[in-house]
């Protein structure tokens, strides 16, 4: 069966959206059922198009699924029942996998080590996210004299970061050197390899150069940097990354004034004039997704939430240039030309050092080998659904892609 989607203008984001890279848009729901029972009821008893059927949800404890009985294009699950347990405390989560109370649990890189030592298999899914630091409202007049408004200073901050160290020690080796903002090995219509080369050089560790740049920019003794450390849900390790880079910045003579935020406290600060973020460096994250413009639009468009280049009231040169390229790219149908446009868009932003990737993160799962066999996951797709439908029984052969 085929679903045909008609749009009255080019919809660049559509393929990505339908790939569930962006959660809600991607799920195909049964029109008749939805209209029959209404949203309220649908939320209680959802019906989707995936290989798992919703059975019931026990609030605060678990959600139960059942494998579909008919052959599914994504492959029929090997297990009849799937119970997703909600275990907030990670040590408990790992303990439950070790005792066999659970077969597989999502974990953070901090736990990768102890999970391994605890005799658990660790499954990693590459390219699921990018941890970045970015600068809100650097374009606002209110901060025009601030060091962080100078691209080269921001570049210096990047050069001060020893990414290998972070990958090795904070991420337990389970992470990669990042590519430019929001780009991955699997990104569509982009000169992927060119950017790999570019970023390997651009994101190198060179504290000496960093110091030199600071001196040239007039901050030989560094400056005070306000830094908002925050972790988006499910990526608690971002706090550790933030702590680590803050320490690295201190080592090139910058006085880092770090403030921690619960994720909940953060989004409200992005609203309005962003008074609490303007002039700050802050941790942020982008999820692994195959297309560039959609995410760039969310970060840089004057009417977006983050508005990193300017807002509708005040859209300066870079901001305008971005809009130009963006408009062009979403209206461009020729793949080759679109690639060129995407590349220039990435270039524009990369040179600004306004959003600086730190590492390319992965999804991590601790697995009890007695309960679940070996399998590989789709790169960039670490949502539970994508992982679980591929789980074989311990005795079965590994899942083939």
């Amino acid at each position: 069966m085929t679903v045909r989607v008609n749009t009255n203008e080019p919809q660049l984001g559509l393929p990505a959206a339908l790939s569930r890279a962006v959660a809600p848009e991607g799920s195909i729901a049964p029109k008749i059922y939805f209209e029959a029972v209404g949203e309220e009821e649908f939320r209680k008893k959802p019906i989707g198009s995936g290989p798992w059927k919703f059975v019931r949800s026990v609030p605060g404890d678990r959600i139960e699924f059942e494998a579909v009985t008919h052959p599914h294009w994504r492959g029929r699950p090997h297990f009849k029942n799937l119970h997703i347990l909600q275990i907030p405390e990670e040590s408990t989560r790992v303990a439950m996998v070790r005792t066999g109370e659970a077969a597989i649990a999502s974990i953070s890189p901090e736990t990768v080590l102890s999970a391994g030592r605890g005799g658990l298999e660790v499954l990693t899914i590459p390219g699921t996210m990018q941890a970045v630091f970015q600068f809100y409202g650097a374009w606002r007049p209110s901060v025009k004299d601030d060091p962080i408004t100078r691209p080269r200073v921001r570049q210096a901050l990047s050069l001060a970061i020893d990414r290998e160290q972070i990958i090795e020690h904070v991420m337990a080796g389970k992470a990669q050197m990042p590519r430019p903002f929001a780009t991955f090995g699997f990104t569509d219509s982009l000169s992927v390899d060119r950017w790999k080369k570019w970023s390997d050089d651009a994101y190198r560790y060179d504290p000496a150069l960093a110091k030199k740049i600071l001196a040239e920019e007039g901050y030989p003794n560094g400056f005070v940097l306000k830094f908002a450390n925050v972790a988006l849900p499910g990526t608690q390790f971002m706090i550790s990354i933030g702590t680590a880079i803050a320490d690295m910045w201190t080592k090139i003579g910058i006085k880092v004034n770090m403030k921690h935020y619960e994720w909940g406290a953060f989004p409200p600060m992005q609203m309005g004039e962003q008074p609490n973020l303007t002039g700050w460096a802050s941790m942020f994250r982008t999820a692994g997704r195959p297309d560039v413009p959609w995410r760039y639009n969310a970060a840089f468009a004057p009417d977006s939430t983050e508005r990193l280049l300017g807002d509708t009231g005040d859209c300066q040169e870079t901001c305008r240039k971005f809009l130009e390229i963006y408009k062009a790219v979403i209206n461009e149908r020729d793949p080759a030309k679109r690639t060129t446009l995407n590349d220039s868009m990435v270039q524009l932003i990369a040179d600004q050092w306004i959003v600086v990737p730190i590492i390319e993160g992965m999804g991590y799962y601790a697995i009890n080998k007695k309960k679940v066999g070996e399998f590989a996951a789709i790169p960039g797709r670490h949502e539970l659904g994508d992982v679980f439908e591929r789980m074989p029984h311990p005795d079965e052969k590994p899942w083939k892609n």
Binding site: S91, T111, S114, Q165, S240, A244, D247, M258, A265
Partner: protein
């Protein structure tokens, strides 16, 4: 009667000393990271070295240094919270218990209110809205303490009021404040002592729990509670990260309690008779 608990006094003195002179004693800065040296065990375990006597944490920070500075933070929090919370509780307890009447019922309703407004929640709310920090923490913990102090002290005072010597003082025409000060206060001090000792534990633990819930002293500033909380996931592979500060907490609370009991025996007038 038990003998003077020198060991406990020693422990307490040592910790205070650690707290005061942390900058002079620590081999490293408590927040400087050496990621290469992360999770090194204490020197007596294999893999450990004299470089980091008590080993290092996940960021390669020297646990000994963090422990010393942690003593500082934890003791500051404890002192501030107990002085603020305990003091207020003591006064309110005595006044309410002794004066009785409307004063009492008003004060005691406040106390009830304080109980029914779980201080931990308050701390979480503050941490989320105002941002976490020493101030928030102390305020929250004091709010947790004063009420319980007030309530227990009041209970004691109510009992004391029946005693003849109070009546006697009244007869002798002592002013109410004077009676509270010279007759009631000395007699509730032993209870106050027990409460303080019991609550030093409460404070340190509350601080730890709040760290666990992400509303304690913001990292990287080391506090014992935060250290235990940060290392909790590594009991299996790097137990020292959380066990060492954990032991520090236990040692402190244990000492202060034993010391407090001893003090109680000393202070309790009835026990001094014989």
């Amino acid at each position: 009667m038990r003998s003077t608990p020198w060991i406990c006094i020693l422990v307490i003195v040592t910790m205070v000393f650690m707290a005061v002179f942390a900058p002079l004693l620590t081999p490293y800065s408590p927040i400087d990271q050496t990621l290469r040296d992360k999770l090194l065990p204490p020197f007596w375990l294999e893999g450990g070295s004299m470089k980091y006597l008590l080993g290092t944490d996940a960021f390669g920070r020297d646990i000994l240094s963090r422990l010393l500075y942690g003593a500082r933070v934890s003791l500051i929090v404890a002192t501030l919270a107990l002085t603020a919370g305990g003091g207020v509780g003591l006064v309110i307890g005595i006044v309410a218990g002794y004066l009785g009447g409307t004063v009492e019922s008003i004060l005691m309703r406040l106390v009830d209110a304080a109980f029914t407004f779980p201080a931990i929640l308050f701390a979480l709310l503050l941490a989320v809205t105002m941002g976490q920090g020493l101030g928030t923490l102390v305020i929250a913990i004091s709010l947790l303490l004063w009420a319980s102090f007030a309530r227990v002290i009041r209970g004691e005072v109510l009992a004391l009021k029946q005693r003849d010597f109070v009546a006697l003082a009244k007869v002798r025409g002592c002013s109410e404040p004077r009676i509270m000060l010279t007759h009631i206060l000395p007699n509730v001090l032993s209870t106050f002592m027990v409460l303080v000792t019991l609550n030093i534990g409460v404070v340190v633990i509350a601080e730890a729990s709040l760290s666990f819930l992400g509303a304690g002293i913001p990292p990287p500033t080391p506090s014992w509670g935060l250290m235990v909380s940060e290392g909790r996931g590594r009991i299996a592979d790097a137990w020292w990260v959380s066990l060492i500060p954990g032991l520090a907490i236990t040692a402190l609370v244990l000492s202060v309690n034993v010391f407090g009991d001893w003090l109680r025996d000393r202070l309790d007038p009835r026990l001094r008779q014989l």
